[in-house]
């Protein structure tokens, strides 16, 4: 399982490195969204508004959906599914590998978004640094949940436009917990309580993914 996970993660990351889709398409979109969010707040409120964490995670949601769809599209090209299916890869390993690659990609984008939030939403740099662990874990859970729901939409040959609709209920509690954690890091409050919720969600999604990913792929 671990060997398969490593193979799949390395393959997905290599494809991203080659295609530069994250660099030239998703990153500019993410930064432009942050700029628009900053403009929506207005120059007077940007630095002090408590909306900044929510706007940060709203952009994270858009970015996560793009990256999850991109990850699934790698596997769902005509013929690729059949070719790769004949490799008989361990589905739990595929799930872990795709989740790992997605997590690393989202970490990179999350870091850029945090820096962008300091620049465009004028959040405090020290608060952004304090929020790094909670943001990292939240993005990790979104990756694992996104991998599961991505397989649900393409494995069942449902339209990929279903992905945002299906993932939103899964992402919503994570976004709330992440937003509260970021708020606590920026403005004070109970940081660890929300952080623990996200960690529990991570464990749950990893367990569910390992157990059901094969079924979703076969469906």
């Amino acid at each position: 399982m671990i060997r398969t996970a490593w193979l799949v993660a390395r393959k997905d990351l290599r494809i991203e490195f080659r295609s530069r889709v994250l660099l030239w398409q998703v990153t500019p979109f993410a930064l432009l969204s942050l700029v628009l969010a900053g403009l929506a707040l207005g120059p007077d409120k940007a630095g002090s508004s408590s909306s900044a964490p929510g706007l940060f995670y709203l952009v994270v949601l858009f970015v996560a959906l793009s990256v999850v769809q991109r990850s699934r599209s790698l596997e769902s090209a005509p013929g690729t599914r059949a070719s790769v299916a004949t490799l008989g890869l361990d589905p739990a390993g595929v799930f872990l590998g795709k989740s790992l690659a997605l997590t690393l990609e989202l970490w990179g984008l999350g870091l850029i978004l945090l820096i962008g939030s300091v620049l465009f939403l004028h959040i405090a740099l020290i608060g952004a640094v304090k929020a790094l662990p909670s943001v990292a874990v939240t993005l990790g859970v979104m990756s694992t949940a996104g991998t599961i729901y991505g397989a649900l939409t393409t494995g069942g040959e449902g339209p990929v436009t279903l992905l945002p609709l299906l993932t939103l209920p899964a992402f919503a509690p994570l976004l709330v917990a992440g937003e509260r954690s970021l708020s606590a890091a920026l403005y004070g409050g109970a940081l660890w309580e929300w952080w623990v919720i996200v960690v529990v969600a991570l464990v749950a999604y990893v367990a569910v993914g390992v157990a059901v990913y094969g079924v979703l792929e076969e469906s």
Binding site: T4, L7, K11, R14, I15, R18, S19, L74, A77, P78, G79, T80, A82, S83, A85, T86, L87, G88, L89, P91, G214, E218
Partner: protein
Amino acid sequence: MSGSFPLLAGLTFCAQPGTLVVLRGGNGAGKTSALRLLGGLERLNGGSGRVLDIDLSSGDRRGLRRRVGWMGHEGSFYEDLTVRENLEFAARSLGRPVEDIDPALERVGLGHRRSTPTRQLSAGQRRRLALGWILVRRPELWLLDEPHAALDRSARDLVDQLVLDALSVGVTVVVSAHDQLDARLAPDQVLVLSGGRVVEES
């Protein structure tokens, strides 16, 4: 079965190791469905079947797939990986030696293309890559879906020679085709399909 009508019905045949079976028929006759079923890519919803001693209804379909070489219409791979990287992924997934990759690429005429991203390959070159994928994997059963489609004369000869080589070492080959195969390939069985049924057998 799919929806309310069977994709295949009344398809009965037995292929011995090292034999060539040809499935012939027009578009929609059920050739590809039959191949996918044999490769464990589709679930058997009725009837019974065993491939490489694995039951198609209740057996380990993932285990079956690992022992099957598949060449579909599309010959699709990871577009942003190079030719060699695609084969390396297949070899490592199955625990095959990566040293086999370069000889396989030379064999299928893609030795000079090993560092080319797959998206830059022509349709014929993709089919050659699919053959290289099979050679690296060394499967016990080859399932070739219209292997001559989109190929020039030399590539068709290459396919035929590789099939002959595989048969000579005891690999079973099942091929779907619209038309007659090259005279060099003498099938042990020919099943003509129409509407998911065998209408002629020889």
